[in-house]
């Protein structure tokens, strides 16, 4: 069972965080916010001098990824909010990530510079050009150390391929291609080619009035570069094989949980709408070979079932919570309201609810498990479902790929929790 301690609050309160993602090694953590900024945190190397500061995350780089744009044709503004960030596996000293807003995907290169050349022949230290007639001798510039500078530069801009809002991007296992999904279409890109993309899924009906289903998330298979999955607002997941056809409108596998007729309500469809799909390696775990029902189901918001009408009214019912696996696929985490987040241990079938809040936790103290009670007598320390704050929601969470370190975005605060060191 995961026990989390080491509450380490960041003072990063610039703007509402809209995505959180660890890179492949877990050394870097990227966050995107509503203002189009990307902030990357880097884990400190463990050092003997400060044994307690095991791998704290500090700001490594900040850059403006997307700017607000205006679509003159539609007379609408395009938000600069970063919807997703995905890292590319590291192949050299630089780091690469893809970041996307509603319409445009950008490939950023983040590189370090800690040396600079000194002793140029043609210009002096201030940068002014030297008079060639005064140069009497040649010298070889030497590299001198300088303060570490982290630069981010946009390497590719993939634009104009999506009519609707991009909700997911996913890097393929071949590390050459990636897919981007909007509400009705999924496109496949090559990382080197920005002026073209292949449309591999299109669920737009000929007549828009017949639209009843949209794509909510998509992801590439972690190992098979021809397989990907996408989820829909009707609670279905489709697995597609790109080798089967150029346009993957017909799925290879189709996953849908049959509806329990006794619990059907007007909200059934909305609450069955899948908000996030992650291969493990919803918080329903689907076995790829068993299509008719999920292997495991974790009730995340069960206590809200009686409040569906309220949630519909205040639009909270449409909140899309992301889920993530831990490195060993033994646990699943997702966020909830009132700055709660929940973790489910697949082996022990136990779960824990924790709160991400400065007021209620002290730094370096263990987090106290929370419990929500739905009615009747409220025990001490329990929180009544009526007093949940629906404005404080944790939509984005990320789990370190190897260790028990999690990043939780609560509106405009980023919390990083680590497992207790024994």
């Amino acid at each position: 069972m995961i026990v989390l301690s080491f509450f380490f609050p960041f003072a990063y309160t610039a703007d509402i965080i809209s995505t959180v993602e660890f890179n492949y090694s877990g050394e870097l953590l990227a966050t995107g916010d509503k203002g189009g900024r990307v902030v990357i945190f880097q884990r400190e190397q463990e050092s003997k001098n400060r044994p307690l500061s095991r791998g704290e995350y500090n700001v490594y780089s900040t850059f403006q990824s997307h700017e607000p744009e205006f679509d003159y044709l539609k007379s609408l503004e395009i938000e600069e909010k970063i919807n997703k960030i995905r890292w590319l596996p590291q192949q050299n000293a630089a780091h690469f990530l893809l970041s996307t807003n509603d319409k445009t995907i950008k490939l950023w290169k983040i590189s370090e510079r800690d040396k600079r050349a000194e002793g140029y022949n043609l210009k002096d230290e201030d940068g002014r050009l030297r008079d060639p007639f005064r140069i009497t001798s040649l010298r070889v510039p030497v590299l001198m150390p300088m303060d570490l500078m982290v630069e981010a530069s946009p390497r590719r801009i993939f634009a104009n391929a999506h009519t609707y809002h991009i909700n997911s991007i996913s890097v393929n296992s071949d590390y050459e291609t990636y897919l981007s999904a909007d509400d009705l279409r999924i496109n496949l890109w090559h990382l080197e080619i920005t002026d073209r993309s292949f449309n591999i899924v299109d669920i737009k009906p000929a007549n828009m009035e017949e639209l009843t289903e949209v794509i909510t998330a998509a992801e590439c298979h972690p190992h098979q570069c021809n397989v990907f999955v996408y989820s829909s607002s009707k609670g279905t997941i489709r697995l597609c094989d790109m080798r089967a056809a150029a346009l993957c409108d017909r799925h290879s596998k189709f996953f849908e949980e049959p509806e329990d007729p006794s619990s059907r309500s007007f909200f059934s469809e909305i609450i069955s709408s899948i908000s996030d799909v992650k291969f493990s390696h919803s918080v329903k775990v689907w076995d790829l070979n068993m299509e008719n029902r999920p292997v495991e189901t974790y009730q995340v918001h069960e206590y809200l079932r009686s409040k569906l009408c309220s949630l519909y009214e205040n639009d909270c019912i449409f909140d899309k919570f992301e889920c993530c696996w831990n490195g060993s696929d033994s646990a699943i985490m997702t966020g909830s309201y009132n700055n709660f987040f929940r973790m489910f241990d697949r082996n022990t079938r136990r779960d824990i609810t924790l709160e991400a809040s400065r007021e209620n936790s002290k730094p370096r103290a263990m987090l106290k498990p929370r419990k929500v009670c739905t009615g009747g007598k409220r025990k001490k320390d329990e929180i009544s479902v009526d007093s949940l704050d629906f404005n404080k929601k944790i939509l984005h969470t990320a789990w370190h790929p190897k260790e028990n370190v999690i990043a939780v975005a609560a509106t405009n605060n980023l919390y990083i929790f680590q497992d207790k060191l024994n």
Binding site: K74, E77, E209, F266, F267, K307, L308, C309, S310, D315
Partner: protein, 404 residues
């Protein structure tokens, strides 16, 4: 960053100025203070609301409830719904639609969540509820109709949400689709148990005198041959509302209402119904000009509550609120036209709603008339003589609108 402005406080003010001053003040406050509202401003709004409320009734209990509603003083008392408590905590803004209907608009979610709060001793029972039924002594009947009530308010809520979609920078397609599906679902269910038919009958029933005007320009209640589901929508517009207060909340896309001693149906239906209808795929036949300047002959007294229960009008009024009437409003038409002069009708095109794209309106000016023809309409509409003469009027007005 300039977002597309919400329906302007100015236009609301224009309208309200001619009709209801306190409402104007309140709405302006709420509309103008979308973000970072100062507490004092909100308090002022609260006080205004409270003044209004207390003016209308001297019921001390009502004041108590309202206080709690606004989160000003929390006394232990029967709150009307847990839901309301929830909303207040989250700092929603209040807008008052009418004497007894309050609307909360969330500033943080520009999608405009609207909630209706009924303060007149009515406790609504919702699926999240389990609240006690009202004190009115209609306990038994209420229980039976509470599901229908819920369903009805859910429908209203959904239609309002759809309506608000176009106000966004670019509407969230997923959300729009989910809401539209919910509406369709409700409509199907209501169709199956016959309630929908009653709604449309209510719409179709002729016969108020011209001076009382709540209008549905067009209500189509149809059973298509292809599928037996009647699809309905209504467009409520207001024409010649000389003697009525026009309470128009542009977010609800204008409504003109008359007082209801008994029944009023409001608002949200307009536009959204049309859009919802389109979603049902009927658009070819049922054209509606969303532009509410369509006059119509129909003086519909729309009693939505009738369809769900056989209770007296009093309860209907309670549920859906009553709308004030003031006399002597000067030329509501001009106010309305000003209000709508900057409304882009392409908003109400389905595509616009769903995707934020503006496209040409799908219907021509005379399609409306065509669809009112006998081949389409249900007998109940066509049989009323009022319709015929009113069609000419309609024709005339449409010409004006189209500018031909």
């Amino acid at each position: 960053m300039q977002k597309r402005p919400p329906p302007s406080a100015l236009s609301l003010l224009q309208l309200a100025a001619s009709h209801c001053l306190p409402y104007a003040r309140l709405t302006a406050i709420c509309a103008g203070e979308a973000e970072g509202a100062a507490a004092s401003v909100l308090n002022q709004a609260y006080e205004t609301l409270m003044t209004l409320a207390t003016k209308k009734t001297r019921d001390g209990k009502r004041v108590e409830k309202l206080k709690m509603l606004f989160g000003l003083a929390v006394n232990e008392a029967k709150l009307t719904s847990q839901r309301t408590r929830l909303k207040n905590q989250n700092g929603f803004h209040l807008c008052r639609l009418s004497r007894e209907v309050y609307t909360f608009v969330s500033p943080s979610r520009m999608s405009g969540s609207l909630l209706n709060m009924f303060s007149k001793g009515t406790k609504r029972k919702f699926s999240d509820g389990g609240e006690e039924i009202s004190e009115e002594g209609l306990l038994g009947a209420r229980v039976a109709s509470s599901y229908s009530l819920q369903r009805q308010s859910l429908l209203d809520m959904s239609l309002i949400k759809l309506q608000l979609c176009h106000m966004l920078v670019e509407p969230n397609l997923c959300r729009s689709v989910l809401i539209a599906n919910t509406v369709r679902q409700i409509q199907e269910e209501m169709t199956h148990d016959g309630s929908w038919h009653m709604v449309t009958e209510a719409f179709c029933s002729a016969g108020q005198s011209p001076s009382e005007r709540l209008v549905a320009t067009e209500v189509l209640c149809r059973s298509r041959e292809q599928d037996a589901e009647p699809k309905v929508f209504s467009v409520i517009s207001y024409e010649g509302c000389r003697e009525e207060e026009v309470v128009a909340d542009e977010t609800l896309c204008s409504v003109s209402v008359r007082d209801t001693v008994s029944n009023v149906y409001l608002a949200g239906r307009m536009g959204q119904c049309w859009e919802k209808n389109e979603l049902s795929g009927i658009e070819r036949d049922e054209e509606v000009l969303e532009d509410s300047r369509l006059g119509s002959g129909e003086d519909e007294e729309i009693d939505t509550e009738d369809e769900v229960s056989t209770e007296g009008p009093k309860t209907i009024g309670q549920v859906f609120g009553t709308f004030e009437i003031k006399n002597g409003s000067p030329g509501p038409d001009s106010a309305l036209e000003e209000l709508f002069s900057d409304v882009d009708t392409s908003y109400y095109d389905l595509d616009t709603m769903l995707t934020g794209m503006q496209s040409a309106p799908k219907m021509g000016p005379y399609d409306l008339l065509d669809s009112l023809g006998p081949s389409h309409g249900s007998p109940s509409i066509m049989s009323t003589p009022n319709c015929r003469s009113d069609l000419n009027e309609l024709d005339h007005i449409m010409e004006i609108i189209v500018g031909s």
